[in-house]
Every structure is written in C-alpha cells, then in structure tokens.
C-alpha cells in the first residue's frame, strides 16, 4: 500500500492553474523525484502536500489517513516533514535550538508545565536536547551546535534544516531542491546523505533540478509540465520517454541522458 497517495489534485492561483488534476503515489521506502521545467508546479505540489496550500479539489492520503485540508502542523505531526527551497532556519536561535524546534511535535509539555518546571518537564527538555544533538551528529555538524544559525554557510544551513526535519521523526520527508546552490562536492555529500536517510526507513519525495542527482538517487520519477503530469516511471523509462524529451528539448534532458 502506498504511503502517500495524491489523487486528482488541482490548485489555481486566481485564474492560473498551477496544478491540474495530478495523481501519483509514493511507496514506503522509496525515493521519488518530481521534475519539470521552471514553473511546472513542483513547489506548489509540495506546498499542497505539506498543507501550506489547500487544494481546490482532489484528495491526499497519508498512510491510512486522509490529510486533505490539514494544517501544516497537523501534517507534520502525522509524520510528513520538509525542507525549503531557501533554507528557512530560525535565525535568532543557535543551530542546536533550531534542531530542538523539530522535536516540538514529538514532545508534550505546555505553557504551565514549562513555566513551573513540573516534575518530568526538565527531563523531557534534556531528552529534546539529546535527540537534537544526535541529529546534528548524524548530519555531521555537531561542532556547530552553539553557533548562531545566521552565521552558517549556505550548505551548512541546508544540513541543519535537514537535521531539523529529521528531528520530527518523519515517515515521509519532502526535500525542495536540496541541491540548488551547492557545489559539486556538496552535492555528492548530499546524495550520500539522502541515501543514508532512506536507509533509516524514511521515504523521500524530492524536487530537484540537477538531473545527475535525480537519476542517480530516484527509484521513481514524476514529470510535471505546466501543472500537469506528463510521465511517471523509473529513471531509465523517463530518459527514453518521448514526451519528456520534447518538454526538455535541448538543455537538461541531454545532460541527463549523457549521465
């Protein structure tokens, strides 16, 4: 059974149809990529899945629950986490605190308990810190724990954001162009990291422009064009799909085919 099931979803901004009756599934443990030219609706699709946008019509199921119309925080609690195209760290906090925010939806003490340090609350706080530290170590940035988030390099922000997303213990991780702005070496590291995350049992849905990375990582690929699905299949099927080649005429497709 599919972990994520997007069924006939449609979304428009004013008169512009950004997503036009798109359906797809993501199987548990899969790395699935969404590709398409700029303006194809990839990020819109992500925003719909994680609840930032509400679809005009269509349904989204996660596991055995319908999550259509859920608020982003509810979706995060259900087990879907994400990173943003531009790393969206909390710049007033340090790196560790950023990751600790990721633990929010898996912890429970509220205003009163935290204010009076009710027995059990300090313990939970320590556990949050420990878990966040562990995530930072996992992405290899434990040495930056006390560093203000604003002082990080771009690539480091990406990794901290990934650690923060992992701290929510997601079953499904949405990565929105994780490779953009990274150099070749950082991209290779990223690819390894994404594989390791998958090995932890986290399913991954990826939007990415770098075809090398996509073809290398993905189990399945969904191609969007002008908000509509034009192809879906394994990397080799996509590379040989006439429709896809036409859409990508020249540019990126040649590059992907060469790899």
């Amino acid at each position: 059974m599919a972990l994520l099931e997007v069924d006939n979803v449609r979304h428009s901004f004013g008169g512009l149809v950004a997503i036009d009756r798109v359906s797809f599934e993501v199987a548990p443990g899969q790395i699935k990529s969404v590709i398409g030219p700029n303006g194809a609706g990839k990020t819109t699709l992500f925003n719909i899945v994680c609840g930032l946008l509400r679809p005009d019509s269509g349904n989204i199921r996660f596991g055995d629950r319908a999550i259509t119309g859920f608020k982003p925080y509810q979706i995060a609690r259900a087990g879907v986490s994400r990173t943003f195209q531009n790393p969206s760290l909390f710049l007033q906090m340090n790196v560790l605190e950023n990751v600790m925010v990721g633990r929010h939806c898996r912890t429970r003490w509220e205003f009163l308990g935290c204010g009076v340090r009710w027995p059990g609350q300090p313990k939970e706080e320590a556990a949050i810190r420990e878990a966040a530290q562990a995530q930072l170590e996992y992405v290899g940035l434990a040495h930056l724990a006390e560093c203000p988030a604003g002082a990080l390099a771009f690539g480091e922000r990406r990794m901290v954001e990934l650690a923060r997303a992992l701290a929510t213990e997601p079953q499904l991780l949405l990565l929105d162009e994780p490779g953009s702005g990274l150099n070749t070496r950082e991209k290779a590291d990223l690819g390894r990291m994404i594989r390791r995350v998958r090995e932890r049992g986290v399913t991954i849905l990826l939007v990415e422009h770098d075809m090398t990375l996509v073809m290398d990582l993905s189990d399945a690929i969904l191609v969007l064009h002008n908000g509509a699905r034009i192809a879906e299949g394994t990397p080799s099927e996509i590379q040989n799909d006439a429709n896809v080649v036409r859409v990508y005429l020249g540019g990126e497709m040649n590059h992907a085919a060469a790899s």
Binding site: C50, G51, L52, K71, P72, Y73, A76, R77, S81, R82, F84, S88, L89, F90, L91, Q92, M93, N94, E97, M100, V101, G102, R103, H104, C105, R106, T107, W109, E110, F111, C114, G115, V116, R117, Q121, E124, E125, I128, E146, C147, P148, A151, R164, A165, T168
Partner: protein, 379 residues
Amino acid sequence: MKPRLKPGLPFVLLAAALAIVPWILRRAEMEYCLTQLTMSLYYAIVVLGLCLVMGYAGQVSLGHGAFFAIGGYTSAVLTTCDVSKWQTAAWLGWIKQSPFCIAREDLFGNPILTVSPWAAFFAAMALTFVVANLIGYPALRLRGHYLAMATLGFGMIVHKVILGTAFTGAADGINGVPEWNLGLGLTVSGKRPLRIENYFIAGGLLLLLLVLLHNLVRSRVGRALQAIHDRETAANAMGINTALYKLKTFVLSALMAAMAGVFFTHYTAGIGPSEAGAFKSVRYVALAAAGGMSSLWGVTGMSTLLNYMSLRGLFGSYDNAVFGLLLIGIVSLAPEGPLKPLARLVRRLAGACRPPNAAQPDAARPNNGLEGRPRHGAA
C-alpha cells in the same frame, strides 16, 4: 558544557537586591519612596507579560492597559458593590454564609455586604480569560499594523465603556476598595504600617512571574514562540500550532496584566479610567521596547525604573518630555535593550583580562562564564 554559575543565581541576587531596598531607604529616611516603587513593580508585571507577546511571539498589543483595567475594575466593582440590596433574594442567605462574601463597613461606617476580594480576584481572572480569548482569536490572525490597530481599538472600546458607564464610576473611577487579606498574614493595602509588607508582596509576585517566564522561554514553548517570531511558515511546518500558541501567549499576558490590575487596585484602594486609556497601553509597549523586548530582565528593570521616576515626579512638568526623549534615545541607540550591549561589554572586558591563549577563538560562540546569565534574545 557546564555553566559556571548556577542558573538560579541571578534570581537569588535579584531577591537579595529587592530585600535590601527597604532597609536602605529606611536608613536614608526615604521610606515614602516605597509606595511609588510598589506601584511601579505592579506596572512592571504588565510590561513583563507584554515582553512575552512582543519579544518572543513577535506580536504586538496596544490594548494591555485595557486588560489591567478589566482586572482592576472587576475587582473594584465586586468588592465595593453592596449586595445586601438584594436581601430579599432567597439565595442570598446561602451566599452570605459562603466564603464568597464578606460583611464589612463602608467608608462612612455603614454595614455592607460585598464580594470577598479573593472571589473578586478569580472573577476578574475568569472575565479577562474570556475577553482575551474573544479578542485574541480573531485579532491574532491580523498582522503588523493591522493587529496593532485592532488591539488599540479594543483598548479604546474598553476605555470609553468604562468612562460612559455609571457603575464603573464614569470619569471618577471607583474609590474605597477594601484591603485584600491574602492569607498567611499578608494583606494588600495602602496603609502606612503595611508599606514594607506590600512592597514585598509586589516584589515577590514580580519575582515569581519572572521565574515562571524565565523557565517558559527556555523551554520547548519558548523556542516555539521564537520560531513563530522568526518564520511563522517554517514553525508551522515543524509541527507548531502557531495560531494556538499566539493565542495562548496573548491570553497569558492579558492575565498577567489583569492580575497586576487587581493587586494595584487593592493597593491604591481605587482605580480610575485613565488606566485603560490608549496612552497607558502605548506606554507599556514603549517600555517593553525600551527594555529590549526579548530581554525579560531588561524589560523588568527598565519599566520599574522609568515608571518609578515618573510616579515620583522626578522631572516635574518635564516628565513626559523626559520619557519621550529617553524612549527615543534608548530605542535608537540600543534597540536590543540596555542589557545585551552591557553583557557584551562585560564579556569583552573579561576577555581582555584573560591571557590571550585562553581566549575563545570563535567569537560566535557564547562565553561559558556568562552561561548563568539569561541569554537575551537567543535564550
């Protein structure tokens, strides 16, 4: 990384500082200053609550004077209104025996039956809770200047309703509010022999709330609030119910303002409509900004100091001018509040005293020696 100072130490120091003030003032034969000091401590509670809303959750409220007034007026009305008029009502017999009511004498020595201060306190808290939720729920969906206007409008409504209603005393306010026996031998009252005791009640309450908020902002909730302040979208995507957290913060700070209002009203034995005025609300926001907004200590200190100077009338007819100039000066020169730059200075001095090889190589990391201090903004 173990903090060198115990985390509780600043509070112990503050408590000690609060405790020696009356002793110093007695030595200097200036005990009369305690009255204004007590009042400014109560005002500081309002600003402290606002600090949570503005500095942490990143919202703004120009209506906190109204919550102070709702607390004060509820308690003033209930504790001065003679319920024995309804002597004939059957339920009064039961009410009379209950702890909700007390029989006492009014200012002219006539026997009256009024609601007891404790019951009035809880009524005030309950009313504030309801009002804050009713106004906060729709208002907190607004942003920036629109939120400011909505809260300002709410404050104006409360102010004008109080001014235009007979049982709140219209322009005269309410006088003759009785003293409040808290139990444990403590009484909130403006009587002269109780001056020191009341100073300690106000100081203790402020300290207690300061500790609670300090714990709160350094917990999962505090981080969530700062995340909302920084990037609301990302905070929501990380599983924080941003709308609910903003509302809870708003209600909490409204309750603090109302609590200050209740104590203040019993302490000064009355309350006037100016407490609800827009000027008061704006002043609270200004004081929070002058204290550094996200700096609990800076905000508490700054608002106690400035209010005290105002209430003592230290600048005579130039009081407002001085307040305005200080506000402009502090906010333009030290937008983070006075404490953070001060802490940096201390840190730099400490760094200069240390042998060069022991100095921290990475300036971006906080100095361990100051771990015990509250880390303003980033805490």
